[in-house]
Subunit: 271 residues, 2 copies
């Protein structure tokens, strides 16, 4: 990356005096010489900026230690030595279909009502109003795999998750359902970072279904850059069949963008 400039043969005092006399300057950061057109900051501003950077780094250290203090040991920590209690007062059970019936042999995921209620307003309402789940001590989570449920609960305790594309989808769905905003943002960021033209349409439909605004905008923007190829894609045909209204929205957005662009092009010449 760095362009190497003419470097003096020695790095000591006499050279810098010679530099000053010649009007060239030496960067206090990379130690290279530079000419007026490459001038960055004066020394005072450089020192102020360095102080700022130090302060920011200290703040980051403080925040990291706060995060590690606030992170919970999860009930999972206790799986290896089941004899010790973890004071959990509720279990979550994954069920593979929408009926809420548990899968054939479900492994319950232990948790604490206080943690669930503190992280999700949906759990809070469910537990505080002493609905069936609170009384029975079991919350059934429909249409989710055991792995996704476990990752979801783990996130509620630690604000951390190990994502791949499938897991990001699964967790975003859960985050949306249980209103865990922080997790939803986390998954959306990951999905936006993985977005490409091949996956844009599927992601657009997914984002639509789960109110993922950032993902929706990013996917729509990618689609609009490739409108000529759109109608040839298999996913496009499927989407027209399944949910034509959101295909209409793509065309509406595209048209509105075209109108805007045209207006922009016109306005400077008129003024």
């Amino acid at each position: 990356m760095r362009r190497h400039r003419r470097r003096p043969s020695s790095e000591f005092g006499s050279d810098s005096e010679a530099d000053e006399a010649a009007g060239t300057m030496k960067c206090v950061s990379c130690r290279d010489e530079y000419e007026p057109r490459d001038a960055g900051t004066c020394r005072e501003c450089y020192e102020e900026a360095s102080e700022t950077e130090e302060e920011l780094k200290r703040e980051i250290e403080d925040l990291k230690s706060k995060v590690s203090f606030l992170k919970f040991w999860t009930p999972f920590d206790h799986y290896h030595h089941r004899s010790t209690p973890c004071f959990s007062d509720i279990v979550l059970v994954a069920s593979d279909d929408d009926s809420g019936k548990p899968a054939s042999n479900p492994v319950p995921v232990s948790a604490h009502k206080a943690v669930l209620a503190s992280r999700s307003p949906v759990f809070r309402a469910m537990l505080e109003n002493e609905m069936e789940e609170s009384l029975s001590g079991t919350i059934k989570i429909s249409d989710v795999s055991y792995d996704a449920l476990r990752a979801f609960v783990n996130y509620l305790y630690t604000a951390e998750a190990c994502l791949d594309e499938q897991m990001a989808c699964d967790l975003l769905v859960l985050a949306e359902k249980y209103q865990v905003k922080h997790l939803k943002t986390y998954c959306e960021k990951f999905m936006v970072s993985k977005l490409n033209w091949e996956s844009a349409l599927v992601n657009y439909a997914f984002a639509h279904q789960h109110n993922a605004k950032n993902l929706l905008d990013a996917a729509l923007s990618l689609i609009m850059d490739n409108m000529d190829k759109l109608s040839k894609r298999e996913e496009y045909m499927e989407l027209v069949e399944k949910d034509p209204r959101i295909v209409v929205e793509i065309y509406e957005a595209y048209l509105s963008k075209q109108v805007n662009t045209a207006a922009h092009k016109d306005s400077p010449s008129k003024s």
Copy 2:
């Protein structure tokens, strides 16, 4: 703070061309001109540093949102509407003396075993081993005021405390007793920031008693800078009466510093 340098009458193009010809440079941050001896960075390093600063700021935002996600609503949030449960499974009671007997009319502080055990290895051992406290559902905290106990429990849930000098002492004692390192560091930082010669000896003795290494070092350093005034202070006489060994340690540290300083002074002339 900022020294204002010679500023050109106009800030536009022709000037900067003139500057280049003259060999002076314009700082891209403060827009002032500077001479070779005041040179900070070249443009490339300036741009890299700006990117770094942006990245650090983004990291801070991420960490802040993580902290606010992980922060617990405390049982105190529920005091205003007591009808809703907060799923607490233990109470802490402050007792004013060492015997552990509760104060005449103690207000219990609700908490969750899972939170206490996650933040403090002492609480964890107490609760996991099903000692008396776990079975009775009440932990008696001796020699502490209700306000300090409440602030202590609140810190375990939020990593936040509103400190004054007394509260910092009280919380440091609790943090030491229950091995809540994060809180101990927090109190120590506050106490070091408030340290002065008037309070140095009292803080030194306090730090000694509670293994507060940073506070101890800061107080000792202040004391050693004022050795001539030390023996005249009332707290000094009291300390000699009460705990002469730690007064001896002050003299030992002072002597060792003197020997080191003398050795440093000698060594360059010999080499």
